[in-house]
Amino acid sequence: MSILVNQNTRLLVQGITGKEGLFHTQQMVQYGTNVVAGVTPGKGGDWVLDGKIPVFDSTKIAVEYTGANASVIFVPAQYTADAIFEAADAGIPLIVCITEGVPVQDMMKVRNYLDQKQVRLVGPNCPGLLTPGECKVGIIPGNIAIHGEIGVVSRSGTLTYEVLYALREAGLGASTCVGIGGDPINGTSFLDVLEMFEDDPRTKRVVLIGEIGGTDEEKAADFIATRMTKPVVAFIAGQSAPPGKRMGHAGAIIEGGAGTAAEKVNALKLAGVRVANHPEEIPGLLHH
């Protein structure tokens, strides 16, 4: 067991012929992910990776031909909203969007549209999903994580790798790692993923990696306090960030005094979460 992706995942790559799309498709295939098709409009009929993966013009046609049940998006930011609509309308139940820099008004439209549908979007601006030993969807380096019992969920990209790496160094493995992305409007929240981890029999403990901005960590703390039975360890990035300065992620703005690292740490501690001072401290707190 695991959440969201496993060996039954039949993956479609939107933007497969772009530089990043092609590189990471190769990485995913090497990892063992079943990449069944790619989409690049205007390149339908081509094949990539030595003729192993067919390219289609249209996501709908790709799904009809290959039975893809998940999609990962590598298209440029200006086309990303359209790519998500396309995947959702093609009936794909899981869409993972790696692209960063998607305009926020696009994402508000996307999210309000998807809320009417039975579609899960992870991202955008996220590293994707990794169920170690089974399936990698996105760009998380496969070699930094091993199969195990720890559910990892994170708003950050590379900071997640840091944590997975630290876990591996300590001999700890992950059930599934979910990068939900750092944008202010995204598809999947901490809360959504915690619910899935709580219901997943393989996951025994959970690591949550948050950052300043928004109130997603506070909502997660609320869920942990009231409904979560599995232990959670957390780290919040941005404790040294000067208030009011924008730290790259649109989410990382301190909004009217709310959303500071201190507040998030406090809410999590009150919910019984062990909060690490730095990412490399996490394995020790899990062992504890």
Partner: protein
């Protein structure tokens, strides 16, 4: 990207929102000419991208054109919260009866735009938001449907705007909505929207913030950027698509990913050091971008050590290494460097850097420790 008051109001006017007659200028003599043109009393307002201008003395009334010139000259010599005043807006003065607040922003929790309005507009709106939130009426707009006529009307009714102003208030609200949509704003705000003694609704002050991610499709808005307000390093960083914020410490940081960059800064602090900057090279940065980042960090004279922390995912460590080498042949620097590479192509990257003079580290903890030690030892 923040817009100046005069820029925001010019956009409002394009959407049919009444604004005071007036013009912006960079010199006091022209301020006088503008005041003469307008006739009567004028308000001279410093144009700096920072809040609280009024309380800082950056907004002044002038009764005559001569006074306008004097006041403009004073303001153009001022610095407000560290920003030099380079332009003043000269607007005709209004006889204010009522001050209304009207703003649109993105509510991330609701995932929808939210329109906020209050009959208690003016400089103390944030104070009112804190102390009497019930005085601020909020309505969410469905991003697929857009603003409905009835919503604009509901706002008018709920903040008790006198009926004779409804039609014009509704038109202003719709105008502000379209300005927000068609500029990809994250904030579009009129404060105050005033009812004047001669029964006009006028947007006396305005503020817009634009979504940087959407500037690619808003070239007219992108061209409004006021580069005078940025440091040279910030301008350079933006040119290369780098997120860079200069801070007060001595340890320059180059990291990929905002979260990891913040965690790296946190770690430096935890070890007793101070980061000199936040710098995120983003996902999939190539050698050129890395080289640019490197030059930007070293352009800060406070920097006494550099910590490079790259965890490869979409970014490949070999590309980063190539960028560092490229920059090093370029910028002959003696500043010591600690490099930590992990993830995608980390080994290739480490191999490339083998012959360069660099301190390497395995963990972030170790990297930060070494960087702090370098500063303390220097």
């Amino acid at each position: 990207m923040k817009l100046h008051e005069y820029q925001s109001k010019a956009i409002f006017a394009n959407y049919g929102i009444p604004i005071p007659r007036g013009r912006v200028t960079e010199n006091a003599a022209e301020a006088r000419a503008i005041a003469e043109e307008l006739g009567g009393r004028v308000v001279v307002k410093s144009q700096v991208l920072v809040g609280g201008r009024g309380k800082a003395g950056g907004i002044r009334l002038a009764k005559t054109a001569e006074e306008a010139e004097t006041v403009a000259a004073q303001l153009l010599g001022m610095t407000i919260k560290g920003l030099a005043v380079r332009r003043v807006l000269v607007d005709e003065a209004a006889n204010i009866e009522t001050e209304i607040y009207l703003g649109i922003t993105n509510d991330r929790a609701a995932r929808k735009p939210v329109i906020m309005a209050s009959a208690a507009g003016g400089v103390d709106i944030e104070e009112i938001a804190r102390q009497s939130p019930e005085k601020i009426f909020k309505v969410h707009v469905d991003p697929l449907l857009g603003l409905r006529e009835y919503q604009a009307r509901d706002i008018a009714a709920c903040i008790d705007i006198p009926r004779e102003y409804w039609k014009s208030f509704i038109a202003i609200t719709r105008g502000l909505w379209w300005a927000y949509c068609e500029t990809d704003a994250t904030l579009a705000e009129i404060n105050p929207l005033v009812i004047t003694a001669n029964h006009q609704l006028i947007a006396l002050d305005g503020k817009m913030v634009i979504d940087d991610n959407a500037l690619f499709r808003r070239p007219a808005i992108a061209s409004l950027r006021d580069v005078d307000e940025d440091t040279e390093a910030e301008v350079e960083a933006r040119k290369h698509g780098l997120a860079y914020i200069q801070l007060e410490g001595q340890i320059g940081c180059m990291v990929n990913g905002a979260g990891l960059a913040m965690a790296t800064m946190d770690m430096i602090k935890l070890q007793g050091g101070e980061p000199a900057n936040f710098l995120d090279i983003g996902g999939g940065a190539g050698a050129d971008k890395v080289a640019a980042a490197f030059r930007i960090i070293l352009s800060d004279p406070k920097v006494r050590a550099v910590l490079i922390n790259i965890f490869g995912g979409i970014t490949r460590c070999d590309e980063v290494a190539r960028g560092i080498l490229m920059a090093m042949t370029d910028v002959k620097s003696t500043i010591p460097m600690v490099v930590r590479l992990a993830g995608t192509n980390a080994e290739e990257g480490r191999n490339l850097l083998r012959n360069a003079q660099m301190i390497t580290a395995e963990t972030l903890f170790e990297a930060a420790q070494k960087a702090v030690a370098l500063v303390e030892g220097s």
